[in-house]
Amino acid sequence: MSQTATMTGSAPVASGEVVEARGPRPKPFFTPRKIIIYSVLVMFSLYYLFPLYVMVVTSLKTMPEIRFGNIFALPQAPNFDAWVKAWTSACTGLTCQGLSPGFWNSVKITIPSTIVSIFIAAVNGYALINWRFKGSEIFFAILIFGSFIPYQVMLYPLVMITREMGIFGSLQAVILIHTVFGMPILTLLFRNYFASLPQELFKAARVDGAGFWRIFFEIMLPMSLPIFVVALILQITGIWNDFLFGVVFAGTQNYPMTVQLNNIVNSAQGTPEYNVNMAATVLTGLVPLTVYFVSGKWFVRGVAAGAVKG
């Protein structure tokens, strides 16, 4: 475990992508062993891909076609009507404005939360490694331990605190909560990364008279691009996918996309429109999926780094 932890920085985390094959392997391709391996892998792949297929296909059908009852069938005449409706006029139980307000709310939550939480965590990691002070390690230990406490335990007092601050039910409250609960893992990430950088750089700058912030902005930050990318991926997908904090802290008019999606599907009145539901689901999943497919290996790195706590 400690091994993987130190690798979260520059070394590839999945512990080396494939080790290069050693020498030629003059075996036939279709050995029974290979057939078993590939068929199991393909079976599992079907399990993983099936929902994506169903989601997209259903969203392109019309309701009469869906009522015909073949979840596998390709749409006879693919059309984006359901997507348009999901985006602009699907009902969430209260209003009928579709998902678009939720999308923009999610954007308004995700961007500042990501920036603030990453900045604070980077400073934390830097202070924890280069500017240790009495008790800093204890704070860090509690921070990491605290990340395992179920959110429900801290939820009510936090509602009271944000209410006292006068921000309950606003974007600021959600941003604050995301910053607080993103802190353990991000701080760990930055702490491990800064620990892997050569200390001589820091010492040299210190001898030259540079202070806390100057060293941070002019020396540490420019060297931390890889870990910033990992943190960005982690936070964008994590915050976009959040449901609990959005539903508790954002207030009705600021509900993020996940909350509105759930409302469209689970609390709408009247006959359910499965094509609109699935279009809305695809739309909500589109942002994290894009991040996932664009970032590729970096996402794996983030996941593995996120996994190795402590």
């Binding site: 475990m1 400690s2 091994q3 985390v13 999945a14 494939v18 080790v19 290979k34 391996i37 199991v40 599992f44 792949s45 993983y48 891909l49 929902p51 169903v54 869906i66 009852g69 073949n70 979840i71 934390n124 202070a127 924890l128 240790r132 002070f133 008790g135 204890i138 509690i142 406490i149 179920p150 429900q152 801290m154 939820l155 009510y156 007092p157 009271m160 605190i161 910053t179 802190m183 701080t187 491990n192 912030w213 996918n241 959040d242 449901f243 609990l244 996940t258 999606l261 599907v265 689970n266 499965y274 539901n277 909500t284 996932y292 497919f293 794996v300 593995a304 996994a307 190795v308 402590g310």
Partner: protein
């Protein structure tokens, strides 16, 4: 856990020795100022809010947390509420199945991926993408797939398999398995990534030695590689375990606790009592029970990991 934080505020105690106080306050001052958000988070949220919740779980708070001390009354009522007992049973049953299946499937997939196969990155991409999606999306897709009339069951019946049955989501006795299908879809890829990292951390020499000794591959995995992956396995169990205790969004999206109360979970109980049931004391008592569960998982792990030598990464 809470106790460790107390000595940190010892500044007041040493006030009569100005030299020391000055040192505690002003040594590396910019770093301390920069770390204020972290200190505030630790002291106010992780320590303060947790203590607050535990304390007020012993009061009879209803709509507002101003109640008077009532000892263990909330807990007694909690365990007399059938909805809570169902929630706990569900969590234990779902949690055990989910943990075992996630680990086993994650490990098997990692072993298969590790066989120097072609299209490795394609397979990995396919297996991990559900993990990038939210539990809400996961729950809603599977809710649609498992829809008894128009989903998988209806489709296969329409195609001629007239007694095909897959109504788990609407069947109180099977609904946990419906949750399991959706949960495994979301989480096994993640477990596979962890296990693969563990497998590739095993020295190639170990494999060579085992091959020289003529030990069959499966035996090498079971007797040598798995014991060597202890660290990764424990990490995976701790992460999966604390995720399972938190389980909330998936249930809300997939079944919303139904049919009836047959798929309720503790996190949902807490939420409902705190924010719509108007019985804060009950919600807090339930939350404290969740905390206790996590401590039962965490303390042995923390002891094993950091207890002995106080060594940290």
């Amino acid at each position: 856990m809470a106790d460790t934080a107390v000595p940190l505020e010892a500044g007041a105690e040493t006030a009569h020795r100005p030299g020391l106080l000055k040192r505690i306050l002003f040594h590396n001052l910019p770093a301390k100022i920069a770390a204020l958000p972290m200190m505030a988070t630790v002291l106010v949220v992780f320590v303060g809010c947790t203590i607050w919740t535990v304390y007020y779980s012993f009061t009879n708070s209803k709509l507002l947390p101003t109640g008077k001390f009532v000892g263990f009354d909330q807990y007694e009522r909690l365990f007399q509420t059938s909805r809570w007992n169902v929630s706990v049973t569900n969590l234990v049953a779902y949690g055990a199945m989910s943990l075992v299946f996630t680990l086993v499937i994650g490990f098997i997939l990692a072993v298969l991926i590790d066989q120097k196969i072609r299209f490795e990155s394609a397979f990995r991409t396919i297996m991990l993408y559900p993990f990038a999606l939210s539990f809400i999306v996961t729950g809603l897709v599977w809710q649609w797939i498992m829809n008894p009339t128009l989903g998988l069951q209806g489709t296969l019946r329409n195609l001629g398999w007239s007694n095909f049955s897959f109504d788990w989501i609407a069947n109180p006795r099977m609904v946990l398995f419906a949750m399991l299908i959706a949960g495994l879809w979301h989480g096994t890829g993640f477990c596979m990534v962890l296990m693969l990292a563990g497998l590739r951390g095993v020295d190639e020499e170990v494999w060579k030695a085992a091959r020289v000794d003529g030990i069959p591959t499966w035996r090498t995995y079971v007797s040598i590689v798995i014991p060597m992956m202890r660290g990764v396995l424990i990490t995976a169990i701790v992460i999966l375990g604390s995720g399972i205790v938190r389980l909330y969004d998936l249930v809300v999206a997939l079944t919303n606790g139904g049919p009836g109360i047959s798929s309720e979970v503790p996190a949902k109980y807490v939420f409902n009592y705190m924010f719509s049931g108007g019985n804060i004391g009950q919600g807090l008592a339930a939350a404290t029970m969740m905390l206790l569960t996590v401590l039962i998982i965490m303390v042995p792990w923390a002891y094993l990991e950091f207890g002995g030598k106080g060594k940290r990464t």
